[in-house]
């Protein structure tokens, strides 16, 4: 089930929250757990067992670690947990990729598994691993209550697309949280904003991108190619950050405070800054559980560069089992290494817009690698971007650019802090008018966004079949 669907908004959402608010405090986790299982099983009627298995494994490992309390076996227990988690993830996500690679290199024809990827497995295995590692390090207390632990893993708001919540971030909230009218209102507003980002911006720009992907690469003008990749850049940002907003909002409605996942990444003036603003929960997971344990920046520059390379190759491959994702990670690794070596200094002397343009170019190049799969598509698209395929501009590029111009402007403004800034200024303004505008906007905008989003969701299923076409 996805949040941006009629089924979620008008069946699951009302039913779940009515029940959740009606039951007394100690029953709430039970309802949340059941609701989450239902939510997940709706899309994965079989793999829900895999998620429960993951939950039990890490719960068990946690309890074992508690018993051993830093004695010798503790390391082995941790290793076992990591092996199981990565084993499950590796099997479902990477087995076919590895077999395919072996087949291609060695000319063998080993059979593939062709298993569909269980929804959200990349997210929840990282969450459960963070728990065991933190318990091992003594940074989190063991969760003895299986239900509370189950809630941590399965909680439907962030189960299938993050943010990747570390156990210690929500440890307290698991048994002690409150959701008054303030939290509910904040959560609902955040949810509406996220839904609108997903449905009104991401989906529409995604339509443009898929339209452009259908064009013949050999004749694509530079204008069309740039319009396309910028559309994809906005699509993926609003899709993903919209989903995070919805997750944070739903969490807030129950009194959880999940960590922020995006912080206006497209205003970054360096790749280093970009990765502090983009998919923050993944970046901080890798920093904490891979980069720093490898020595981070404490073991000299060469080692630090190697660590950067390792982390970003892993980040790349985390996004999908494909060479293009590996190269996507590599691109960022190279940019980050250059910035560590000298580029960061240079950028800091230059005016900020220069850094922003540089960052935008690297990120857009990254999105080309990310969104197109085969080397021939990627090189064809890059040629088109350079104007070597279909010239600089053509009618189609002009047409599409113009059709979506307004949406691009909304998306561009929406990916900066400007709207928040305006709201803050209005709120802080002493004049009656500014305050009145703020009050009005605060009440009207979320509802209006919700209505428009519902229209977008229903329209996506609109499928006119004209029997009297001719």
């Amino acid at each position: 089930m996805v949040f941006s669907s009629v089924l979620f908004l008008f069946r699951f959402f009302p039913a779940f929250f009515i029940l959740y608010y009606l039951v007394p405090g100690r029953m709430k986790n039970f309802i949340l757990f059941l609701g989450s299982l239902f939510f997940y099983a709706w899309g994965e009627p079989v793999y829900v067992l895999l998620m429960l298995f993951s939950t039990l494994v890490d719960y068990g490992h946690g309890r074992l670690l508690e018993r051993l309390q830093g004695r010798r076996g503790a390391g082995l227990v941790l290793l076992s947990s990591v092996v199981v988690n990565l084993g499950v993830l590796g099997f479902f996500k990477y087995a076919d990729f590895l077999i395919g690679t072996v087949n291609a290199l060695a000319g063998t024809s080993l059979p593939l598994f062709h298993l569909p990827l269980p929804i959200g497995i990349s997210f929840y295995t990282f969450q459960t691993m963070s728990y065991t590692i933190d318990v091992y390090r003594g940074e989190a207390r063991v969760q003895k209550n299986l239900l509370d632990f189950g809630v941590y893993v399965a909680m439907f708001p962030q189960l299938i697309a993050g943010p990747i919540v570390k156990y210690r971030d929500v440890e307290e909230c698991l048994h002690n949280r409150r959701s008054g009218v303030l939290e509910i209102s904040q959560g609902l507003k955040r949810f509406c904003a996220g839904l609108a980002k997903k449905v009104l911006l991401a989906n529409n720009l995604g339509e443009l991108w898929s339209l452009i992907q259908k064009q013949d690469l050999g004749q694509m003008s530079a204008l069309t190619a740039w319009v396309g990749i910028v559309a994809f850049a906005f699509q993926i940002y609003f899709d993903f950050s919209g989903y995070s907003d919805m997750a944070l909002g739903l969490g807030k409605m129950m009194g959880f405070s999940f960590p922020e996942n995006f912080n206006y990444p497209y205003i970054s003036a360096s790749i280093t800054e970009f990765w502090r603003r983009w998919h923050i929960s993944l970046g901080s997971w890798f920093r904490e559980y891979v980069y720093i344990p490898l020595g981070g920046n404490r073991k000299g520059l060469p080692r630090q560069l190697l660590n950067i390379l390792a982390v970003w190759l892993l980040t790349g491959i985390w996004h999908g089992a494909g060479w293009n994702f590996l190269f996507w990670g590599l691109l960022f690794a190279v940019a980050l290494m250059l910035e560590k070596l000298f580029l960061g200094k240079v950028l800091s002397w230059l005016p900020r817009p220069v850094g922003m343009v540089y960052t935008a170019l690297v990120v857009l190049l990254g999105w080309v690698l990310f969104s197109l799969e085969t080397p021939s598509q990627i090189s064809g698209f890059l040629q088109a971007m350079a104007g070597a395929a279909g010239g600089l501009a053509d009618e189609r590029g002009l047409y599409l650019g113009r059709q979506y111009l307004c949406l691009f402007v909304v998306a561009a403004v929406g990916s900066t802090p400007i709207p928040q800034e305006i709201a803050a200024r209005l709120k802080a303004s002493r004049t009656g008018l500014g305050m009145a505008l703020y009050r009005l906007g605060e009440k009207v905008i979320p509802g209006a966004l919700l209505i428009l989003s519902i229209a977008g969701i229903v329209d996506a299923s609109y499928n006119p079949f004209l029997y009297f076409r001719f």
Binding site: M1, S5, V6, L7, L9, F10, R11, F13, P14, G43, E44, P45, V46, V181, L182, I184, S185, Q186, L188, K189, C192, L200, K214, Q215, D216, E395, R396, L398, Y399, R402, Q403, Y404, L405, C406, L407, V410, R439, E442, K443, P446, G447, L450, I451, L452, I454, A455, G456, I457, V458, D459, S461, Y462, N463, P464, F465, L466, Y467, F468, R469, F470
Partner: protein, 373 residues
């Protein structure tokens, strides 16, 4: 306290939206069929152990809930108006042209060179065998250039027509492109439908008469209004109608027609079927919508026989041809499964000659023209 009150108000608004639509949706009865979309809507799926674990049940249930969602047609309008507010000039494959014109979109990438070549070969064979005249009518996007959104993509039908001319020779081609272009400022296409109007067809008729060496038997003054308030296929797609259309016809054509036979069964004494004017598909007024075979007998002693192979564009033009022939066969290949040439041979009059006309719009020609010899 103030903040709490405002928060309460926000919760109230959003909850009201979600809960009221949920309630309305639950109360509402399922619809079998969507008039607006012309399709059967999904109905509640059956729950079985098998369908549950395969994931089919949940998928179907989701389609069902979405299809049956309360106010479905209205939501789609809201989305359309959002797009319009964002200055989009295209809704559901329809361009929103100037002066309230809805113009059907045909993207060039949907028609490959290979597909064009296939059709040209079929056409070449057809023309060679029957010495046919070919009338390929350009679609509105090519003629109403000034009403199209800027830079809007379209199939270059002028290039297609010159390709056709190269293949079959100018003698066989009836040039309606130039004629329609000359009259592009008149009502030659409907505002809400993808067909040309009776006036557009009349200009096509003039071009045909000239090529054929006939004196035109009708003048524009013969044209009369038969229906108003027409909203055609493009309205059905875009769900917008800045204006409605008027349907005209040439009542004087009825003087020439004695008997019309549809698919060898149903007969009538005119080419027009008034009953369709009460439905949404008012264009079906001409030649009773689409039939595999229509035979028109005029009782005229002088004229010969004409065989028309056509799409729906021909429906409003064919009545005008009746003044020039004794017998007209009208064939729609989409509904005909036999061998075309064999059938045509069986239609040949005893004493030899038969004129043959092939009439399609350029897009239908690329999409629909095919036959078995």
């Amino acid at each position: 306290m103030n903040e709490k009150r405002s928060a309460f108000f926000s919760v109230f608004i959003i909850a009201a939206v979600i809960l009221s639509f949920t309630a309305a949706d639950l109360v509402q009865e399922d619809r079998l069929y969507s008039e607006a979309e012309n399709r059967v809507l999904a109905s509640r799926p059956k729950l079985t152990v098998e369908s549950l674990f395969s994931g089919d049940f949940t998928k179907e249930y989701e389609t069902y809930v979405t299809d049956q969602f309360v106010g479905r047609d209205k939501w789609i309008l809201v989305k359309t108006y959002t797009d319009l507010a964002l200055q989009k000039k295209e809704v559901g494959g329809v361009y929103l042209g100037a002066q309230g014109y809805l113009i059907e979109q045909h993207l060039p990438e949907n028609y490959t060179a290979q597909q064009v070549e296939e059709k040209l070969q079929l056409l070449e064979k057809f023309v060679e065998k029957w010495d046919a005249r070919v009338m390929l009518v350009p679609t509105a996007d090519n003629i109403l250039e000034e009403k199209m959104p800027a830079h809007a993509p379209r199939v270059d039908e002028k290039a297609l027509l010159s390709q056709v001319e190269n293949r079959i020779g100018a003698h066989s081609c009836i040039d309606v492109y130039s004629v329609l272009m000359e009259h592009a400022d008149q009502e030659i296409y409907y505002h809400t439908d993808h067909h040309w109007t009776s006036l557009g067809a009349y200009y096509g008729y003039l071009a045909w008469a000239e090529a054929q060496g006939f004196q035109p038997a009708f003048s524009p003054e013969d044209m009369e209004t038969v229906a108003e308030g027409f909203r055609g296929t493009l309205y059905a797609k875009a769900k917008l109608s800045p204006r409605t259309d008027t349907i005209h016809y040439f009542p004087r054509t009825m003087e020439h027609i004695r008997k019309v036979t549809y698919d060898l069964k149903k007969t009538s004494d005119t080419c027009y079927e008034w009953s369709h004017l009460d439905t949404r598909n008012k264009y079906a007024f001409f030649l009773d919508d689409n039939h595999a075979l229509v035979e028109i007998d005029t009782g005229s002693q002088e004229g010969g026989t004409l065989f028309v192979v056509k799409d729906s564009y021909a429906n409003c033009l064919v009545p005008l041809l009746a003044a020039h022939y004794e017998k007209i066969y009208v064939m729609d290949l989409r509904y005909f499964n036999g061998r075309l040439f064999t059938f045509m041979e069986s239609c040949l009059p005893e004493e030899g000659e038969m004129d043959v006309l092939l009439l399609y719009n350029c897009i239908h020609f690329l999409e629909e023209f095919k036959y078995v010899q």
